[in-house]
């Protein structure tokens, strides 16, 4: 399969542009946080009566509601830009795939890019269902960092993959891992902010500025839980698909390869997270910490395992 270098150049261009747009979106979200009203006040606007009739008179609100305040507009622009960035990000992966004639996750650069796209999409989906726009900057920050590192340190030219990766399991196993890792990154950010918010709620003088602008601790907890509940079965499937592939490619379904081990460790941590939410005395803070540890394990698995240890999960280009 020959490599189409024009398409791959367009892919790189889309990638860089996507990062720039994400950064801009992040700044807009940060601006909303910096100048926006506090979360508590926004809650009240949601009062709606049966059939859309106002329940009670809202004297001073009529005027305010006709136009949105600047900070809110900035935040909404941030979301729009994130959608645009995601479209370019998707285009960059799709072009890579077209340029190389294979799925676009054959090396570390492409893999991390795909994981980040998974995270962005998970974030946008969550955004439709929960009013958690205030988290935008915090979700985008680690993604931008990951994408920057992938695009600079780990960048690999578009190219074919080694024989071991030529298998339809590359599509199944890696896509499951990409999506679950991406979603879990969002969950980790939510849990991290839950810890901030919970400390703020316990003592309003800690994290006074940041805490007052975050969504309620409950909402953050729910966001973290729902994303994890979505990601865990997918991660389980991904690990199992990996084991089936390993049986065909490496001669055993489980061999304690570093990547396998850390994937199992992450899985165990997320299992512990779900259990901790059902255990008296572990709900809330402790469960959130468990999820944050899971987040750390995921990032550790993304980077460290490929860059520092030598195992079978080394791709062309890096590791």
């Amino acid at each position: 399969m020959s490599i189409n270098s024009t398409l791959s150049q367009y892919s790189d261009l889309s990638y860089t542009t996507a990062i720039a747009i994400y950064v801009f979106a992040m700044l807009l979200h940060a601006a909303e946080n910096a100048f926006g009203r506090r979360a508590v006040q926004r809650e009240q606007k949601a009062l709606v009566a049966a059939g859309g009739v106002p329940l009670a008179e809202q004297p001073s609100r009529g005027v305010v509601d006709t136009g949105r305040a600047l900070p809110e507009r900035l935040g909404r622009m941030g979301v729009s830009l994130t959608v645009l960035g995601a479209a370019l990000h998707f285009a960059s992966l799709a072009l890579r795939g077209l340029a190389t004639g294979r799925v676009p996750w054959g090396n570390m650069y492409e893999y991390i890019s795909a994981v980040c796209l998974g995270a962005v999409i998970a974030w946008l989906v969550m955004l439709r269902r929960h009013s958690v726009r205030q988290l935008g900057a915090f979700v985008l920050l680690p993604l931008v960092v990951l994408m920057f590192l992938a695009g600079t340190v780990l960048y690999a030219q578009a190219g074919p993959v080694v024989p071991a990766l030529k298998s339809y399991w590359l599509v199944i196993h890696v896509s499951a891992m990409v999506i679950s890792s991406g979603v879990v990154l969002v969950a980790g950010v939510a849990s991290l902010l839950y810890l901030v918010k919970a400390r703020h709620e316990a003592n309003p003088s800690t994290f006074a500025k940041l805490g007052s602008r975050l969504p309620a601790a409950d909402a953050l907890d729910r966001l973290a839980y729902r994303t994890t509940v979505f990601a865990l079965p997918l991660m389980t499937f991904g690990i199992m698909a990996g084991a089936i592939w390993a049986e065909a490619a490496w001669g055993r379904y489980w061999g304690w390869d570093p990547k396998e081990t850390v994937a199992l460790v992450s899985w165990v941590i997320y299992a512990a997270y779900l259990h901790s939410r059902a255990t008296a005395g572990w709900r809330g803070n402790r469960a959130a910490w468990v999820n944050v540890v899971g987040f750390a394990a995921t990032v550790f698995n993304l980077f460290f395992v490929n860059l520092v240890t030598t195992g079978l999960h080394s791709y062309a280009g890096v590791g």
Binding site: G159, P233, I269, H275, T310
Partner: protein, 569 residues
């Protein structure tokens, strides 16, 4: 004595309770995760024993201690096994009572209808025109698939108590039991499985799985003594490796043939294309293509005019360029006296490059590319006693350096040879680099339990999915005649709902359900009574409600309280 027994049994009981509590299980899960980390951060014997030796040499103080404590073999270490065995005992202790409880619940009826439905997390109320019995009949219809209990209360009031989502707990139990099945399958595989590697030349050479000695390396399971290997033979006819100009491997393909069962001992062979990701599955074993390399062919013409030809595998020192090293050993022909023979044995050692490249001096050979474009060897030729008669084993890739040190084996030539070139030794012996042959290394694996591991894994996934997706939830309906006549209708219908587990998202379903249950022949003239859906601690609020539900919403209490409200008594 009696009190001692009581104390001992209390201790045992408390230990058991402690061990099987969720807290202990959580701690054990963390310990498991933590204990696995040295397996990633430190080199492991099972993955690369060379790196372990390197690490121990670099860390001479803690290295031996880490070794003694099993840190270089974490996943076989007793402390690692202790953690997962405790975890599984804890699991069994937790699961058995839960299974009993679940079976009991399967036969139990749904709970009584609470007195005050408006205190439930989900609640709706409306006055309708239909009479009590009609509403109950419609309710039964709508709640098809739910486990229901119809109740009567004084004053002509009727209730429906309904519950569904029992499969959640079933999924939960299946998940945990399957995890144990998976571990058992893994353990059985370690007991009765085996794994061996061997190099076979790709020139029509045959290899049979008939005994341990046929392997270059072999890792038996604990109960495997090598006597009962699955009988089959393979013949390697040819091998093709294709590399990209960058040196990256593109495809590996070995044309092989195999025979098993009744074909053994005959000349019936079944062809197979062995590739990476395409192992041969035969006689309950799997044959994998692990790697490949080259065997330079040398023709030695001895002073008396006799010639000997030999090609034996050389070992790649670099997977990127397949620069290889090895030793091709010759006995002098026609010499019957052992002492005399030991003076004239020959060994051709050195480097082989499939695509030769030289440094600036033009002398030092390296390889520029892993495919055979311009092969060359850089050889040292030794003559004397190779030590092959000494009885001690020696590597086929090298000569015995002790023989060199003892002066019994001497270097008699050093030269670079390209294909077809030859060198001449002082006694007139001529050595020609005649050609290149290929070899492949194959791995044979045997694990009869792995199919059970797969079955267990599928069950694990199904159980996990069921336990996370299915919600255990209840709904109650209380229908009472509208005595006071307020609201105009004849009958007051109240619906209450409760999710029994900490699974979020019951609100939407309840909204639809309550809508249907209350829609039954609503009074046309009567104004709808405000339908309250109390703040559900599981739900975010308006941004999550479906379109059906938004209109039902009249108030939202401040979100607060516990996340997973337990059952209402």
């Amino acid at each position: 004595m009696r009190s001692q027994i009581a104390a001992a049994s209390a201790f045992l009981r408390n230990t058991w309770r402690g061990l099987t509590s969720m807290r202990t299980a959580l701690v054990l899960l963390f310990l498991l995760a933590l204990a696995a980390l040295p397996g990633v951060l430190l080199p492991q014997y099972s993955l690369n024993s060379g790196k372990v030796a390197e690490y121990k040499a670099e860390h001479s103080t803690i290295g031996p201690w880490l070794d003694k404590l099993g840190f270089f073999n974490v996943f076989a270490a007793p402390w690692f096994a202790a953690i997962y065995l405790l975890l599984f005992i804890s699991l069994i202790g937790c699961l058995l009572p839960r299974t009993v409880e679940y079976l009991r619940q399967l036969r139990a009826r749904p709970g009584l209808t609470p007195r005050n439905l408006s205190r439930l997390p989900h609640h709706a109320e409306r006055t309708v025109d239909a009479d009590v019995d009609e509403v109950v009949a419609a309710g039964r219809q709508r709640l098809r698939g739910w486990r229901k209990e119809i109740g009567e209360e004084p004053g002509g009031v009727r209730t429906i108590s309904a519950e569904r989502g029992y499969l959640r707990e079933a999924g939960n139990l299946v998940f945990h039991f399957s995890m144990m099945l998976l571990l058992v399958g893994l353990a059985v595989g370690k007991l009765v499985g085996y794994e061996g590697q061997v190099i076979v030349r790709a020139d029509g050479s045959q290899w049979c799985n008939s005994g341990l000695f046929n392997y270059d390396s072999f890792r038996p399971g604990l109960t495997v003594d090598g006597t009962n290997l699955s009988p089959f033979c393979v013949r390697v006819d040819s091998f093709r490796a294709n590399y990209l100009p960058s040196g990256q491997a593109d495809t590996f393909h070995a044309d092989i043939a195999y025979q098993a069962g009744d074909d053994l001992g005959t000349d019936r062979w079944n062809p197979y294309g062995l590739e990476v990701n395409e192992p041969l599955r035969v006689a309950g074993d799997r044959v994998y293509l692990l790697g490949h390399g080259y065997a330079p062919r040398f023709v030695v013409t001895f002073p008396d005019g006799q010639t000997r030809t030999q090609a034996i595998q050389w070992r790649p020192t670099s997977t990127a360029t397949l620069l290889s090293e090895g030793a091709t050993k010759f006995d002098p022909p026609g010499v019957t006296d052992p002492a005399e023979r030991r003076k004239h044995q020959l060994a051709i050692t050195g480097l082989f490059a499939p695509t030769a490249a030289y440094d600036h001096t033009g002398k030092i050979l390296t390889s520029a590319f892993p495919m055979v474009n311009n092969p060359a060897v850089a050889v040292d030729v030794y003559r004397g006693d190779l030590g092959t008669d000494s009885g001690s084993p020696q590597s086929i890739f090298s000569i015995d350096e002790r023989m060199v040190r003892d002066g019994r084996l001497n270097k008699v030539a050093r030269q670079n040879l390209e294909l077809g070139q030859e060198l001449t030794l002082d006694d007139g012996t001529r050595i020609r680099f005649d050609g290149v042959e290929q070899w492949i290394s194959i791995q044979v694996s045997h694990d009869p339990a792995q199919v059970w591991v797969l079955v267990a894994a599928v069950l694990v996934l199904a159980g996990l999915g069921a336990s996370l997706v299915i919600k255990r939830r209840r709904v109650w309906l209380r229908v009472r005649p509208n005595g006071a006549g307020e609201g105009g209708g004849r009958t007051v219908v109240e619906v209450g709902g409760l999710a029994r587990t900490d699974q979020a998202g019951y609100g939407e379903e309840f909204g639809r359900l309550a809508g249907d249950l209350l829609a039954a022949r609503t009074s046309g003239t009567a104004p709808n009574k405000i339908v309250a859906d109390r703040a559900d601690p599981e739900r975010t609020g308006s941004d999550e409600a479906g379109p059906d539900e938004t209109s039902n919403k009249t108030q939202r209490a401040a979100a607060g309280g516990g996340h997973d409200r337990q059952d209402v008594p």
